[in-house]
Point group: C2
Chain length 404, copies 2
């Protein structure tokens, strides 16, 4: 069986996972406290923000997970990032961890803590703590939606995806829920992604697979170039599918990594699509590079260029801006060898302008919600992708509005 | 005598320089062709864009200047960048160089060529060539303004500065004219800067001084992170001041480099202030770094953050965004040691929030045209600065408008 997308899947589609979400009062109206739980301890792996300034829950989760590679529950609040909050912040994160462990009767270090929201404000623990015990944990579709909402900030839609396959003849499901760029106040580009699977795998090998895939997915999206203090991707694998233990020597190892890649890629694209103020998803594909990392670097340079982003918003097939972003990507390229198409319409061949219909190009940029920019460097045989969004008046509006 | 700013100075204030500018028809209405001339061959030094894709005039000037370090005239057009134009583009750049050399009866390789404007369009040589011979070259204030205008694209004001000092008891003048970010179409952030001086110095030592100062000035400004194909800073020193030859051993060497630094810094700040859509200049000063390069890197990270830029536009003293940009600058910092003030109002001490008047901070951001963000990393003894501008609705408007 190939990998199939489960359109009706949720974060709790894999066996043995439950969730909950409610409004605790950190945010004004929307749900702001979520919980994710595995009935059995799950092998886990995570990647964290590269920002030197890390939020307290990130530091705590990193420490707890490093002990034995097991996570059984995640407690998440939105509305307050618990970042730049010093000793009190760490104390509060530990309190959230302890309260969750107590509620579920599990080990404290098996609880991951995540926060997203305003930086530098003390956590409203009087709201969060009493509500942890009130969280109902179920396997319903409603609970998944509650959870999906509870982790959002300025996101405009819930980000969730689910895939199914078979490994060793056993049904294996992998699901993910994420939040993207756009924080209530002060609007960090915090990215959180939680992936659940019932696959049977150990933490260290899961960690290796995750790190590789993060470089191809989450690290290839950009909204405004800012890196939050709170970013985290966490995968929990509880083994309930009862496949043989997955290792790099397992005959279906590639299938598992493909499952993780597709889940991560779908969530990454949703996050990019929902960038602050975005009206379009931009997908840049670079072929013909000397190295995979070169291809991704060029793709990310193009998709991160403010001038390319505004050109897409302005429905202008402005290849000059694309060329310029390729040129300053830091990758050694031959500036005379670039092929470029936008939406399948070829604009450049070996860096020379090709006659094309400006009208058709404009129509493509106006009508499509996903804009494809394809570049061939004609140097090597490696390729890579990156995703981003256009830069609109709304980005400025959202981020220039005063915090209070 | 110290270094004095000459408020009424122009690009032709140093002895022996003349200029001209006119409308040739590349742009619709505004002046678009300029010339700068030294009565005697000038020792010259230049730095060029780091973009791998270089415009044809950049390649040509680089080649010509490398021959004997002498430039006697510069021909500049705006409206068309002559970039990504292939062999025809190089042919056209050479034609401009030859035509100028013929007009002035000087060596072809002593003419620098610069272009700024739309990328990837063939140069309208039928407009440019006949107008080169029509350029009048004088030492008047009017001619300086004509020249200043002829090199602009979407700039909103002419950028010019002049300083005077004495070296070996001789009056030495240094002046500069620049254009900044914002191209007509497709709106590259092309930066051109031309500096004239009558100081007596040789090309190789001038080159060394320039490279050092560029790192402290032009390379510390950012508008939108894009690097144009056409950027160039060119200094011409014609020796007419008759000071003793300047070398690093000259007793007033420091004064000369300070002159070059102040000229470059003033022009850089004007360029940042006139970033596309900008309403304010942001000056970030970083102290207490382990290395000068670290200090500049942190300063540039903060001033380049879209979230900091929109916060300034939104008059929000959002220190969380500043901390985040410090954290992802790539510099090893101690996240617990940061002092931060905005407009002299202290917001953080050793990374802990300080009680301050939000009202006063908002008033400062509303009323001032130059916003000072001061950071102390409290790690070492080095400092650095960077300059940028706020990110406004107008940035999006200017860059999202269709080329035609």
């Amino acid at each position: 069986m190939e990998i199939m997308k489960k359109e009706s899947g949720t974060i709790v589609s894999p066996k043995g996972f439950k969730v909950g979400g409610l409004h605790s009062g950190v945010k004004r109206k929307k749900k702001d406290l979520g919980i994710l739980y595995s009935e059995v301890p799950a092998q886990a792996a995570a990647v964290y923000t590269l920002n030197k300034v890390k939020a307290e829950p990130i530091k705590l989760t990193q420490k707890s997970l490093s002990k034995d590679g097991i996570i059984q529950a995640v407690i998440i609040n939105s509305g307050n990032a618990n970042a730049c909050t010093g000793k009190q912040g760490m104390y509060d994160a530990i309190k959230m961890q302890e309260e969750t462990a107590k509620k579920l009767n599990i080990e404290k270090d098996h609880v991951a803590v995540a926060s997203t929201g305003i930086i530098g404000m003390e956590m409203p623990m009087d709201k969060i703590i009493p509500h942890i015990s009130k969280l109902e944990i179920t396997k319903t579709k409603e609970a998944s939606l509650d959870f999906g909402e509870a982790i959002l900030t300025t996101d405009t839609f819930i980000k969730s995806v689910s895939f199914e396959t078979e490994i060793d003849g056993k049904k294996v499901i992998m699901s993910g829920a994420a939040k993207g760029s756009g924080m209530i106040e002060p609007k960090m580009g915090t990215m959180l992604s939680f992936i659940t699977t019932d696959a049977n795998i150990e933490a260290d090998i899961l960690d290796k697979a995750l790190k590789d895939i993060v470089n191809q997915t989450y690290n290839c999206i950009t909204v405004d170039g800012d890196t939050s203090t709170n970013d985290m991707v966490l995968v929990m694998a509880n083994g309930e599918a009862e496949n043989n233990l997955l290792t790099e020597n397992h005959p279906e190892w590639e299938k598992f990594t493909e499952l993780l890649k597709r889940t991560s890629e779908e969530l990454s694209k949703m996050i990019a699509r929902d960038g602050e103020g975005a009206s379009k998803l931009i997908e840049v594909t670079v072929k013909g590079a000397n190295m995979v990392t070169d291809a991704r670097k060029v793709a990310k340079s193009v998709v991160g260029s403010s001038l390319v982003k505004t050109a897409v918003f302005g429905t202008d097939a402005n290849w000059g801006r694309v060329i310029v972003a390729i040129g300053y990507s830091g990758v050694e390229i031959d500036p005379a060898q670039i092929d470029l198409t936008i939406g399948g319409i070829q604009l450049l061949e070996k860096s020379e302008p090709v006659t094309y219909s400006e009208e058709l190009a404009k129509k493509y940029l106006e009508e499509e919600e996903v804009i494809n920019i394809d570049i061939n460097l004609n140097q090597g045989s490696h390729s890579g992708k990156a995703w981003g969004c256009d830069l609109t008046y709304d980005y400025v509006r959202i981020n220039a509005s005063y915090r209070s």
